[in-house]
C-alpha cells in the first residue's frame, strides 16, 4: 500500500504523530524529588543552611562581644580591691593632683602610702579618676604624648618595680617631676569618661596605647559622651530600601521591592533593639500566555417554532438564540503581566554597634513580619473579550497574605550633625517560607538583597 504526501510538511507531521519514546526512569525520579521537596540539589536547603550559619555566626559574635565587655568591666571593678600600695590615684586629674603625689626614688621603687585613702577616695578614683598601676611596661600612649617623658619613665621603671601612690612621702624629686609632667599633658589632653568609669589598672601605656577610650580632644569626648556614651539612648530612623527578590522556584520573574520604614532604635551600651512599622511595595513582572479560540461572528439559531392562528391565519413564531462562532484553531498570545503588592512590615531587630567621632558601625539581625495590605493583580478581562479563552498560563504566581523573613544587615553611619546621622546598610532577607502560594514547584524559599539608607535622629 502506498501513501502519497503532498509535501514534506505532511511527511514530517505524519511520521511524528505517534512518536512516543519512553523516557529514562531517572527523569521521573528527579521530578519527584523536586516536587516533593526531597531533592538533594534543592537550592532552598543550601539557603537554609546558609541562613542558620549566618545567624549562628551573628550569635557567636554577639556572645563574644558580650563576654569581652563583661571581662573589661570585671577588670575595671577589680580596682576597688586594689590596695593603696598597688596604685597611684589621681583623685582629681583636672586639679592639682600632682602636688599630692610623692614617690620614692628609683633606687627604692616600692612605695607605700602612709595615709590610707579612705573608701570614699577609692570609689572616687574608680568612678571618675585615672588610676594607674604602673608595672614595668612603658606606656606607649605616653610615648605619643612625649617621647622624652616616656624615656624618663622607662628609666625609672625598668627594674620591674611597682610604683604606688604615697601621700605625704617625700621621694625623689626627679620622679615627682616626671609624674607631674606626665599628668599635665594628660590634664591637657584627656578627659575621663565618668559614665563608663574609665580606669586604667595595670599598665597605663597599654590602656592609653589601645586608644579605645582615649580622645585627644576633651570637647569632642564630652560631646560624644552626650550623644552616644550614655546608656539607654533612643533614636528614630526613617529608612528607604530598594531590594531585588530572588525566587529560586520561579524563573524569569523579575521582582523588585521598595520599602519605607519608620523605626525606633533603643541603644544601650552598644547593643541595640530596633522595631517599627513600614510599607513595602513589591511588584512581580512576568509574562502571561493565553490560549484562545478567535471569535469569528455569531448567528441566530432557531431552536423552536410555534404556530398560532391569528384572525384565521397561521402565524409562525421563531424562538432563537445567539450562537457565537469561534475559530477551531487554538491561538496563543503572550502579554506582559505585572502584579503589585503592598505589605506592612514589622521588624524586630537586635544588634550591636560602635560609634566614633564621625562614623559608626553596626550589624543587626532578627525577624521581620510582612502582612499583605493591598494588591493589584493583572487579570485577563474575559467579560469584554469576545474570544474564547482556553487556558491562561502565567509566569507570575499569586502571593500569600503573610510571610516571615529573617533579616540581616550590617553597615555604617555618618554623623551629619549633633543629633542627626545617616546610615547605609546592605540588607539580606531570607524568607522563612515562600511568598507565593504553594503549588508544587514554588516551595523554595526566596531571598532578597537590598541597600537600606536611613536618616536617624538622636533623642
Amino acid at each position: 500500500m502506498s501513501k502519497r504526501y503532498s509535501n514534506m510538511d505532511d511527511f514530517f507531521r505524519d511520521r511524528f504523530r505517534n512518536f512516543e519514546p519512553e523516557p529514562p526512569d531517572y527523569i521521573w525520579e528527579n521530578i519527584w524529588r523536586k516536587i516533593s521537596g526531597n531533592g538533594p540539589d534543592h537550592p532552598g536547603r543550601h539557603f537554609k543552611k546558609g541562613g542558620i550559619a549566618g545567624i549562628t555566626t551573628i550569635l557567636i559574635l554577639v556572645g563574644f562581644i558580650t563576654i569581652y565587655q563583661f571581662t573589661n568591666n570585671a577588670k575595671n571593678t577589680q580596682v576597688t580591691g586594689i590596695t593603696e600600695n598597688e596604685v597611684i590615684a589621681f583623685n582629681d586629674i583636672s586639679g592639682e593632683s600632682s602636688n599630692h603625689t610623692v614617690v620614692e626614688s628609683p633606687a627604692n621603687p616600692v612605695f607605700s602610702s602612709p595615709v590610707k585613702p579612705n573608701k570614699k577616695e577609692i570609689k572616687k578614683a574608680n568612678s571618675s579618676s585615672l588610676v594607674l598601676g604602673m608595672e614595668k611596661a612603658i606606656p606607649e600612649g605616653i610615648v605619643g604624648l612625649s617621647n622624652n617623658l616616656s624615656d624618663e619613665i622607662s628609666n625609672l621603671t625598668a627594674d620591674n618595680s611597682v610604683v604606688t601612690a604615697e601621700e605625704g612621702n617625700t621621694g625623689n624629686a626627679k620622679f615627682e617631676t616626671v609624674l607631674s609632667d606626665l599628668i599635665n599633658p594628660i590634664n591637657k589632653g584627656i578627659t575621663l569618661n565618668s559614665n563608663s568609669g574609665l580606669v586604667v589598672p595595670g599598665t597605663i601605656g597599654r590602656r592609653l596605647g589601645e586608644g579605645t577610650q582615649f580622645l585627644a580632644d576633651a570637647g569632642d569626648r564630652s560631646r560624644l559622651r552626650d550623644d552616644y556614651g550614655k546608656p539607654g539612648s533612643w533614636l528614630l530612623g526613617l529608612y528607604f530600601t530598594p531590594e531585588m527578590l530572588y525566587n529560586p522556584s520561579v524563573r524569569n520573574l523579575n521582582t523588585r521591592n521598595y520599602s519605607l520604614d519608620v523605626n525606633a532604635v533603643y541603644r544601650y551600651s552598644g547593643y541595640l533593639v530596633q522595631s517599627g512599622l513600614g510599607l513595602m511595595w513589591s511588584s512581580d513582572n512576568g509574562n502571561c500566555t493565553v490560549d484562545y479560540n478567535q471569535y469569528l461572528g455569531s448567528y441566530e439559531d432557531v431552536y423552536n417554532i410555534t404556530f398560532d392562528t391569528v384572525d384565521g391565519e397561521v402565524v409562525p413564531t421563531y424562538y432563537t438564540e445567539t450562537v457565537k462562532v469561534y475559530d477551531t484553531l487554538t491561538h496563543v498570545t503572550i502579554s506582559p503581566a505585572k502584579n503589585k503588592y503592598t505589605y506592612l512590615n514589622i521588624p524586630l531587630l537586635f544588634g550591636y554597634g560602635g560609634e566614633g567621632r564621625h562614623f559608626g558601625w553596626f550589624f543587626k539581625a532578627g525577624p521581620s513580619l510582612s502582612v499583605l495590605v493591598n494588591k493589584n493583580v493583572s487579570e485577563i478581562n474575559e467579560a469584554n473579550n469576545p474570544n474564547r479563552i482556553i487556558n491562561i498560563e502565567t509566569e507570575v504566581p499569586s502571593r500569600i497574605e503573610t510571610n516571615l523573613q529573617l533579616m540581616m544587615s550590617g553597615g555604617m553611619s555618618l554623623r551629619l550633625g549633633k543629633n542627626l546621622s545617616f546610615s547605609i546598610e546592605p540588607v539580606f532577607r531570607y524568607y522563612v517560607k515562600s511568598t507565593y502560594r504553594p503549588n508544587g514547584n514554588n516551595s523554595r524559599n526566596p531571598y532578597s538583597l537590598g541597600l537600606r539608607a536611613g536618616l536617624l535622629v538622636n533623642f
Binding site: Y5, S6, D9, F12, E20, I27, I31, V332, N391
Partner: protein, 181 residues
C-alpha cells in the same frame, strides 16, 4: 486508569501515586516532543524534566476547558522555547525565500527512514530553523504566534522556516533515501 479531571484533582490533593500516574500517562508523548525540539538527548531530558515540574506547579490553573494533553504539550513546548531563548543568539532577519516542496513522495520509499534518522535530520538543523520548523509544521503555531513567542519578526519566522525546509530537503535527497521528486 483515572479520568483526566479526576487525575488532576488527585494531583492537586497530592495523593500518592497520582503524580506518577499523570507522568506515566503523558511522558512518552511529551518526550517525543522534547526529542524534536532538543539538539541532543540530554537537552531533551532537561526539557521534559523542567516541563513536568512546571506542569505540576501550574496544574491548579488548568481549567478543564481544553484537552489536558494539549495543555501539557503547550507547557512542554513553552519550556523548550524558554530554553531556546536562553541559549539562542539573535535570529537574523533575512528575506523570505520560497521553499521548494518535495512533491509526490511515496511512503513506500520513505519507510526506509527510521525515526532515529528523522530525528538526526531535525537535530542537525540550526537551532533557529529547528525551533520554527517544529513550532509551525508540527505544532501548528502561526508565524504571528511564533514571532511573539520567540520575540522575532514574522518575516524572520517565515524565512527561518523556508531555510529549514530547504535544508531538510537537501539532507533527505543527499542521503539518497530514494525519493521521487
Amino acid at each position: 486508569m483515572y479520568a483526566e479531571e479526576d487525575l488532576v484533582k488527585r494531583c492537586l490533593r497530592n495523593e500518592p501515586k497520582a503524580h506518577e500516574n499523570f507522568y506515566r500517562r503523558f511522558a512518552p508523548k511529551m518526550y517525543g516532543v522534547c526529542m524534536r525540539f532538543a539538539k541532543n538527548q540530554m537537552e531533551a531530558d532537561d526539557i521534559l524534566q523542567e516541563g513536568f515540574i512546571k506542569v505540576f506547579g501550574n496544574l491548579g490553573t488548568f481549567r478543564n476547558e481544553g484537552s489536558l494533553e494539549g495543555w501539557v504539550r503547550r507547557t512542554i513546548v513553552n519550556t523548550a522555547i524558554n530554553l531556546f531563548k536562553k541559549n539562542a543568539k539573535h535570529l537574523k532577519d533575512t528575506g523570505i525565500e520560497q521553499a521548494e516542496i518535495i512533491q509526490n513522495m511515496e511512503e513506500g520509499s520513505l519507510d526506509r527512514i527510521t525515526m532515529e534518522e528523522l530525528l538526526k535530520l531535525i537535530r542537525e538543523l540550526p537551532a533557529g530553523y529547528r525551533m520554527v520548523f517544529n513550532l509551525n509544521i508540527i505544532e501548528g503555531y502561526t508565524h504571528k504566534e511564533i514571532s511573539e513567542l520567540l520575540e522575532i519578526s514574522e518575516n524572520t519566522s517565515k524565512s527561518q522556516l523556508s531555510r529549514a525546509r530547504q535544508a531538510l530537503q537537501k539532507k533527505i535527497i543527499g542521503s539518497n533515501f530514494g525519493f521521487a521528486k
